[in-house]
Symmetry: C2
Subunit: 211 residues, 2 copies
Amino acid sequence: MIRGKDGTIIPRVVIERLPRYYRYFDWLDGKVEKISSKKLGEYMGASASQVRLDLSYFGDFGQQGYGYNIKKLKQELANILNINSETSFIIVGAGNIGRAMTRYKAFANTGFMLKGIFDINPDLRGQKLGNVEIRHTDEMVQFIKDNHIDIAILAIPKDEANEVTKTLVDAGIKGILNFAPLDLDVTNHITIENIHIIDKMLALSFMIHRA
Amino acid sequence: MIRGKDGTIIPRVVIERLPRYYRYFDWLDGKVEKISSKKLGEYMGASASQVRLDLSYFGDFGQQGYGYNIKKLKQELANILNINSETSFIIVGAGNIGRAMTRYKAFANTGFMLKGIFDINPDLRGQKLGNVEIRHTDEMVQFIKDNHIDIAILAIPKDEANEVTKTLVDAGIKGILNFAPLDLDVTNHITIENIHIIDKMLALSFMIHRA
């Protein structure tokens, strides 16, 4: 349970919308000075009152009759989202997705620093992907402890995903971005965000076939 | 608006949950014969009544006092999700994500057939990624028309994303899986599913910092 400024629990969907707000403020910055909650709602596909409620969990940002100051709120959201501080992460799995993630430049722009990449295949050990070399998963637990890593991107087959998750949690990982096509065992008391590519494609396909 | 069996509008969140139901039934198939809505709800993180309501949009599947027959409902969901029929798609952008998607084996298992990959860089033209060669974006519109392509995976920088989307829609594309870090212009009357990797990482990071 994560609580906002006044102690109320922040709904997870609101937390998950926060990066989108940041993207809009980043996009608006330099274009306009301020924005109303109504106009911001139009961008977000939400009502003005929803926008005001969403942002109220994180602070008193708007001024009645003025709206939100773009530069100021962008800065506030950047602080709230830790964009200007460094957050280390590792990638588990040096397959197609894992490799694409090692080269994904947007991480560095938002404070995410790739510290290591691990794979179970011993033949890949020592291979360099950008500035980071592939290590064997045997070294993973010690590496996480030594480098105080909090976040892992999981890009491995689903049959191994729960066992590897348990290892990660035992080593001290607190959050996982999961690309494996399953819902990870949640008894581990860990924060998980999923990217289920096939689920998205199936939903998309269903909607266009039915539309 | 997509309507269910009895004419009621199916909420988008329900459609987006459907592939997850399918994954559970696929996983349960061979392990057990039937499942109650209560037990299914435990897997889904939902109540029994939510599960019954979700599935009721698509048909009369359960039997009171028996529950859901795994094999039968898996088959029904596969049909509803068009998993056993072929759905063609293209990839736009032969960068890191686009290339990872060309090699993503799970597409073929769920009926998605990659027909083409396009990039604006003329130096990449003719390069083979698996069985598919990279074509220049100049050839894209004709290719979509000739091959009756409905779905595109968009894996290009955000500054070009809206212009390319307009081209795709004009050529006949009906659905986009968008990896570009922006919300595409929705005035195009097209179905969009987003995979916003940085949004997910920022939400994850926020939650573990606040937990």
